[in-house]
């Protein structure tokens, strides 16, 4: 079976979540890989949520908010933008590829854009393959354990000090 | 200023006067035109009816050769202008066409990356050379001459990139700069009949007749065109039009010929003797 990516989405209540509702009402069809978590404003999305989603096994994270200038809460989405730019840099440093995290402005009228965005993102993440952070964590843990065991057997006192 | 020049088959045949006048005018303006090395037929309209991909590939070979020079291409023939631009757009918009054409070009060791800009001489004259620079070169303005500016179809449709699709004005501006008067001509962009004038004359002739008749009615002494096929249809078939409808006796010249005259170039240099319906009226006063 081909790889089906798991994508966690955070949609703001007023624009993108409504747009996803509209996509539903309009019976637009899109890939079933996205799981939407509703927040009132994209500005509520703490970068930790994104990191946590990756850490718990998401292959991609999509964040949807109102268009700049259209935020229901005046300017929450500008704050989102600022934060997510920073987050992008961190993700890159962690070796999480471009395209796994995506920020999109989708207004309440843009059901079609939900469809296009989701389909496009699923296709791109599918091409990137599984991220599997939980698996990587396990590997790293194992490596560290091994290292620890190795170090402990070699020079226990010194390393204990270093730690 | 330097451009690549894609003459196309017509400018080497029935449209010789267009090539002669175009080269003369550009030379006089100090703009260098370099003919694309070993260019082939653009693919044009007729070939599209035979094979879509081949038509694009023909254009593709020309574009690939042109791309090496990193210069904009000037295509004076409307069919070539559209053919090359359409290929450009299709290669850009349709990945499957691009894939097929790329593969075919590769078979001949060619490659194309989509970087060439194909432009019409009107576009270059107005937007690159500029009306001011042209006005400075006008030595003997065509005072008192009245023309019907006729653009035909394929330079404004379907891609109206440098002029208005319904009411193009670039040639009007050039003719005005040359000192001539433009008549209001509502048939500016109507089809001349294209290849139908030759293949189904009973149909094509009427289209040419309508354009000539209206130009006459509006008081034009000549129709000024930008396309070798338009010129051929409107100029070459007037005896048959006379037999089928009525004699119109309307000279049909290229805008480059008119511009050249105003710039002081000779009628011979500009190929004005090549008109079937004598264009002597345009020469009056010089």
């Amino acid at each position: 079976m081909s790889f089906e990516p798991k994508i966690v989405a955070f949609f703001c209540n007023w624009c993108t979540y409504t747009a996803a509702d509209l996509a539903g009402v309009s019976r637009l069809k899109y890939a079933p890989n996205v799981r939407v978590i509703r927040v009132m404003c994209s500005g509520r999305v703490d970068p930790q949520f994104v990191m946590d989603a990756f850490a718990k096994g998401a292959d991609g994270v999509l964040l949807g908010g109102c268009h700049p200038g259209d935020c229901h809460y005046a300017e929450g989405n500008y704050k989102t933008l600022r934060r997510m730019r920073m987050l992008n840099r961190m993700l890159k440093d962690m070796g999480i590829e471009d395209g796994r995290f995506r920020l999109e402005w989708i207004s309440g009228a843009e059901g079609e854009k939900v469809k296009v965005t989701v389909n496009d993102m699923v296709a791109k993440v599918r091409a990137l393959g599984p991220l599997d952070m939980p698996g990587k964590f396990k590997e790293w843990d194992k490596e560290i354990e091994e290292l620890e065991a190795h170090v402990n057997s070699d020079a226990p006192t010194e390393v204990a000090h270093a730690r | 200023m330097k451009y690549l020049y894609f003459p196309g088959c017509s400018l080497k045949g029935t449209g010789k006067a267009y090539e002669e006048s175009l080269l003369a005018v550009f030379r006089a303006l100090g703009v260098e035109l370099k003919e694309i090395d070993d260019w082939n037929c653009c693919g044009a309209t007729a070939y599209m009816s035979v094979d879509e991909a081949k038509s694009y590939a023909l254009a593709g070979r020309n574009l690939a050769i042109a791309e090496r020079e990193e210069l904009d291409v000037i295509a004076p023939c409307s069919a070539c202008y559209l053919g090359l631009n359409k290929a450009q757009k299709s290669l850009q918009d349709h990945p499957e066409i691009r894939a097929r054409v790329t593969k075919a070009l590769a078979a001949a060791g060619l490659e194309y990356h989509g970087k060439v800009k194909v432009r019409h001489p009107l576009d270059v004259l107005i937007n690159d050379v500029g009306l001011d620079a042209i006005a400075k070169r006008i030595k003997s303005p065509l005072k008192g001459h009245k023309f019907a500016p006729y653009y035909g179809c394929q330079i404004v449709r379907p891609f109206a990139s440098f002029d208005d699709q319904y009411d193009p004005k670039t040639m009007d501006k050039l003719l005005a700069a040359a000192g001539a008067e433009n008549v209001t001509f509502p048939l500016k962009t109507r089809c001349c009949g294209g290849s139908l004038t030759g293949t189904v004359p009973e149909v094509g002739l009427r289209l040419a007749y309508i354009i000539l008749k209206e130009a006459k009615k509006r008081g034009a002494e000549a129709v000024v065109t930008v396309c070798p096929l338009c010129q051929f249809n409107l100029d070459g078939y007037q005896d048959q039009i006379a037999r089928k409808f009525e004699a119109v006796d309307m000279p049909v010249v290229y805008f480059t010929q008119v511009l050249g005259l105003a710039m002081g170039l000779s009628a011979d240099e500009l190929g004005l003797k090549r008109s079937i319906i004598s264009a002597d009226v345009v020469l009056a006063g010089r």
């Binding site: - | 045949g13 179809c153 449709r157 109507r190 289209l207 079937i276």
Partner: protein, 196 residues
Amino acid sequence: MAITQMMKYEADRDADFARWATSQTGGENLRHCIQCGVCSATCPLSLYMDYTPRRLINLAREGFKNEVLSSLTIWLCASCYACRVECPKKIQVTDIMYALKRRAIQEGVYPKRFPIPVLAKEFGRMIFMWGRVNETLLVIDLFLRTNWFKFLSMTGLGLNLMRTGRMSFLPDSIRRKDELRKILNALEADKTEVAK
């Protein structure tokens, strides 16, 4: 006056043809046509057509293949693109006409007395041979193959062209003919591959 039956049965429709038409480049919007007729109204040649472009679009999307492919309409299109820029549904009518011409040539159902398909074919042959088109030779060739009688009516034009030095009987050829043929042959091979 011959009496013909005008009614059509559902069996007269060719659903595959309709699907083919809507899958052609430019035909994507065919199904959106609202039959406003602006294509026909703006067309400088619709006055001679047996089916106006609007009717042809409807016939094509409904799958009336015979009517479409045997119509004069597709051969009377001069590719002036007026319909395409006017269409309120952005249907690329001109490109659909091209696709229909190709299909008609392929299926050999075009009107034989009509020289346009012959012109198109000759055009293709000439390009394969020389890489460029010599209009004089093309026209002579055309009339000899279709209606050499009509050729006589054109002699006046021919003489005029000769007089003004606009006629040439020598084919103009490109230098690297093999390069061009490789391209065209590659596409030919590609096509057979696709067909397989």
